[in-house]
Amino acid sequence: MSITLNVNAQNHDVDADPNAPLLWVIRDDLGLTGTKYGCGIAQCGACTVHVDGEPVRSCSAPVSAMAGRKVTTIEGVSSRAAKAVQKAWVDLDVVQCGYCQSGQIMSATALLEKVPKPTDEDIDRAMAGNICRCATYQRIRAAIHAASAELTA
């Protein structure tokens, strides 16, 4: 089935199974491999993208439902919040293996875009869906606070 997807502000016509998860269409059809596969059942958050500005687990979203919506991946996220998040992530050496971090950054960005000054409880609730097996959580939290400080300075 032919679907037109808007990804990172570009339209793409893909021939995809309407029931294919958005994740595999982004990765295999569009070649955008920054969004990762970690579990396939919406438990780990590695596949997180933005759809119309909201965080979505792309492994759990059928591509047919994404037609006509604005999809943003790690490669294309560019808001002030996103830049502050990525900068804080690098400044604090958050990453270890890095595989979960696209998803972490997308979730953190979604949080800060709506709540520029999140409490620790806000952070817990927004980020609890993103698993990090390297347990970089302490630095993720610190980086979100650092990005917030920069955004609200």
């Binding site: 199974d17 294919a20 998860p21 595999w24 269409v25 990765r27 295999d28 059809d29 070649g31 955008l32 491999t33 920054g34 969004t35 990762k36 596969y37 970690g38 579990c39 396939g40 059942i41 438990q43 780990c44 590695a46 991946t73 790690i74 490669e75 990525q86 992530w89 690098v90 050496d93 958050v94 990453v95 270890q96 293996c97 890095g98 595989y99 979960c100 971090q101 696209s102 950054i105 952070i123 817990d124 980020m127 609890a128 869906g129 993103n130 698993i131 990090c132 097996r133 390297c134 347990a135 970089t136 959580y137 302490q138 630095r139 993720i140 939290r141």
Partner: protein
């Protein structure tokens, strides 16, 4: 559940072991891991010998994979280009633990390189150049040994390049070499002469390669030991989606395969019907491989749909009996029987007849899967009479040899591209090279028509076996009226990780050192230790899991220490210190952790501290866990961690590894177990094989002991003390003495 996972026959054992210098020597000495680890100890790593193999002595330059090559290539580890970039070739696998940054720091420091001009690449498979010096002649990463074995080697590599640049400048400027200064990629002289390394690289390449360049004194370090001087080299690419993992590799015509794996350990394929699978759009092949049945397709979704449509019949008659609960019961029985001795009471020791207190306890540990974020995978491409693979090749020596065998090609026709991986925790370091061989087998099965990536799903990965084995410990420890330990009987039951494989030579007198490390040897003076081991053999292949034997031995030893202290009416810290004899480094971290945690100060109601110490991989770590309890459910609020790992090459990486070990260990303590029922692994994904999440992460403080001793590892040593420290706090809070993990079995975790 891999068809190839059977014990190597004696010829193959010998073949591999000889290839990697792991065989018991002809003289009859057997290799213990301590021997292997100590063999390349400080005394052996004096500068300027064989393992740097200067250019003239070698036939071919190390392969360039990407970045600028030459002109200054004095050895296999560093290149300086006319573009002024310094490229460090990293012989170790980056799975997140930061050794890329560490190895680059070692070179950059001695070379006086500008950190922003340093680039890194991963070495090809070439054990002659890139062996892990602590492993013998094998190329591989593990045992928290990367920085330790590379410390002098990589520094010398950098110093060599610097010496040649200096010599070239001295020549060009007609000044003594001793007057040429280097700093941040720039050579300079008091007379005002200046040149970048890039400008001088060609001239430097014509200089004599020095055999023993001077190394810096610690006072001269600019990166080593300096906080934030050398930030991680892989941060940016991992934050903007550009870092390439095996799952991301793109090649012309690349196909994706998922395998229908045996459903139980030891099940065999009876038959399969591919007709529906082949009709799925995008499926190109359905082929039988030794691992199972592979569905090959143009993309992952098509492959998954194809596998769903595949009908496979398995014979589980031989495999369906395995049950983890029944196994535990068997282990408990075995623990009552005499085993193979691995510790004997010292000759002078005699157990008095009348102990004041005896503690008897049985501890039970489940199968653990590693569950790194990136499930296992590998890309294999057979073309032009050769094989190329892309993967998280943590053991290139084995991966290359086994890939060559599977492909029927000579070693020199097999080229490995080692990529960063999405975590390993031990999983990718295995002498069976399961993911590599699977990819080669599928590539072969489609006649090398296209490159193919075999991708495990999360369920495949969690269910593949290669687990940290189940273990049971049975102990009986007695104290006299003065609180002195008078008797210590200890029996361990659990699979030997080394048995049946090419590292079986490490088993000495029937004892696999990885089954007992942490009980024996131990930091404590326990001359009365009387310990035995049983090593059952199962259809589930075992594997090391971050910190290996210490994952269970530390829990037993350190919770026992607390129980004994309580029985003796002593403070757990003082009780331990009294047993550490002259082990100053162990005592040092224990006291530091206690001091920084405010040990002994009154805690708020419902909050308690537990302490633990463990020495592993030659590093010393002590932790104090501060735990709160509310309605019987616990929360680990804070962990104070003290680590002595010798020279701290990258302090922030060390802190990050301690944080990571604590989080990984806490995750396992709370949640992790793989049950086996009817031969099948039960937990397959993160809904049931749960992982720690951000709201459960304690606040972690890390204190690094200043040291000039040669560096030792940090990838694993932070893990063993965590679980017992928490368990000790739980007991102090009035909670149970947990003897069977994970904690969810004791209803201690709020969900």
């Amino acid at each position: 559940m891999h068809a190839l996972m059977q014990a190597f026959g004696p010829e193959e054992q010998e073949e591999f072991a000889n290839a990697f210098g792991l065989a018991p020597a002809a003289t009859g000495t057997t290799i213990s891991r301590r021997t292997v680890l100590q063999g390349a100890g400080a005394a052996g790593l004096i500068i300027g010998f064989g393992w740097l193999a200067p250019m003239g002595a070698r036939a071919a330059a190390p392969e360039a994979e990407g970045a600028a090559s030459g002109p200054l290539v004095p050895n296999a580890f560093v290149r300086v280009g006319t573009d002024n970039l310094v490229t460090v070739i990293c012989k170790h696998h980056e799975m997140g633990q930061g050794n890329t940054t560490g190895l680059a720091s070692l070179v950059a420091d001695e070379l006086d390189a500008d950190w922003s001009l340093v680039r890194t690449e991963y070495a090809p498979a070439n054990p002659k150049l890139y062996a892990n010096l602590k492993f013998g002649t094998m190329q591989g990463t593990g045992g928290s040994s990367a920085i330790a074995n590379s410390f002098l080697q990589y520094r010398t590599a950098g110093a060599t390049a610097r010496a040649m640049l200096v010599a070239a400048a001295a020549q060009a400027w007609n000044v003594p070499a001793s007057e040429v200064k280097t700093s941040k990629n720039v050579l300079s002289h008091a007379s005002g002469k200046r040149a970048s390394y890039g400008d001088m690289a060609l001239a430097a390449s014509r200089q004599q390669v020095p055999s023993a360049p001077m190394l810096k004194t610690p006072a001269q370090y600019v990166y080593i030991g300096k906080d934030h001087a050398a930030p991680r080299v892989d941060s940016v690419s991992k934050c903007n989606g550009t870092a390439t993992y095996t799952i991301d590799v793109k090649l012309p015509g690349l196909l994706t395969a998922v395998i229908a794996w045996p459903p139980s350990f030891g099940a065999t394929l009876v038959s399969f019907d591919a007709s529906d699978a082949k009709n799925v759009k995008g499926v190109t092949d359905v082929v039988q491989v030794p691992e199972g049945v592979a569905v090959v397709a143009t993309g992952m979704w098509a492959a998954l749909q194809g596998r769903k449509a595949l009908k496979v019949q398995w014979d589980e008659s031989a495999s369906s009996a395995l049950d983890s609960e029944a196994l535990l019961a068997q282990y408990r029985e075995q623990a009552k029987q005499a085993g193979t001795k691995f510790a004997r009471p010292a000759a002078m020791h005699r157990a008095p007849a009348d102990p004041a207190t005896t503690i008897e306890a049985v501890y039970e540990f489940p199968f653990l899967a590693h569950a790194p974020m990136e499930p296992m995978n590998c890309v294999a491409w057979l073309h032009d009479g050769m094989l190329e693979t892309w993967g998280g090749h943590q053991f290139p020596s084995f991966d290359q040899m086994l890939a060559a065998k599977a492909a029927g090609l000579p070693l020199e026709k097999v080229k490995l591209h080692t990529l960063v991986s999405g975590g390993s925790f031990g999983r990718r370091a295995n002498v069976w090279s399961d993911f590599t061989v699977a990819a080669v087998n599928v590539a072969k099965a489609i006649d090398g028509r296209a490159p193919v990536r075999v991708q495990y799903t999360r369920e495949d990965d969690t269910g593949a076996g290669l687990y940290r084995p189940m273990y049971v410990h049975a102990v009986q420890v007695s104290l006299d009226t003065k609180g002195q330990i008078t008797e210590w009987k200890h029996t361990i039951v659990g699979q030997s990780i080394m048995a049946g494989g090419p590292m079986a030579g490490m088993i000495k007198d029937g004892i696999d050192p990885t089954s007992v490390e942490g009980v024996s040897p131990t930091s404590y003076d326990l001359p009365m230790m009387n310990a035995e081991l049983h090593s059952p053999v199962l259809a589930v292949k075992p594997l090391w899991w971050r910190s290996v034997g210490n994952t269970h031995t530390a829990y037993v030893m350190e919770t026992l220490m607390d129980e004994l202290a309580v029985a003796a009416g002593q403070d757990p810290l003082a009780f331990r210190l009294a047993l550490l004899g002259k082990n100053e480094r162990a005592a040092g971290v224990l006291k530091l952790a206690a001091e920084k945690a405010g040990w002994g100060k009154p805690m708020k109601s419902g909050v308690a501290q537990g302490i633990a110490l463990h020495e592993s991989f030659e590093s010393f770590v002590a932790q104090v866990a501060e735990v709160s309890m509310h309605n019987g459910k616990i929360r680990v609020e804070r962990v104070v961690c003290a680590v002595d790992c010798g020279v701290p090459v990258n302090p922030d990486v060390i802190r990050a590894q301690m944080e990571g070990c604590i989080g990984y260990g806490l995750s396992a303590l709370y949640y992790s177990e793989i049950e086996v029922k009817n031969g099948r692994p039960v937990q397959r994904n993160f809904n049931s094989y749960r992982a720690l999440r951000i709201h459960e992460m304690p606040a972690v403080e890390v204190y690094i002991v200043p040291s000039q001793v040669a560096p030792t590892g940090v990838g694993e040593p932070g893990l063993p003390p965590l679980a017992p420290a928490v368990a000790n706090a739980v007991a102090k809070l009035g909670g149970p003495r947990v003897r069977r993990l994970p904690f969810t079995r004791s209803a201690l975790i709020a969900t």
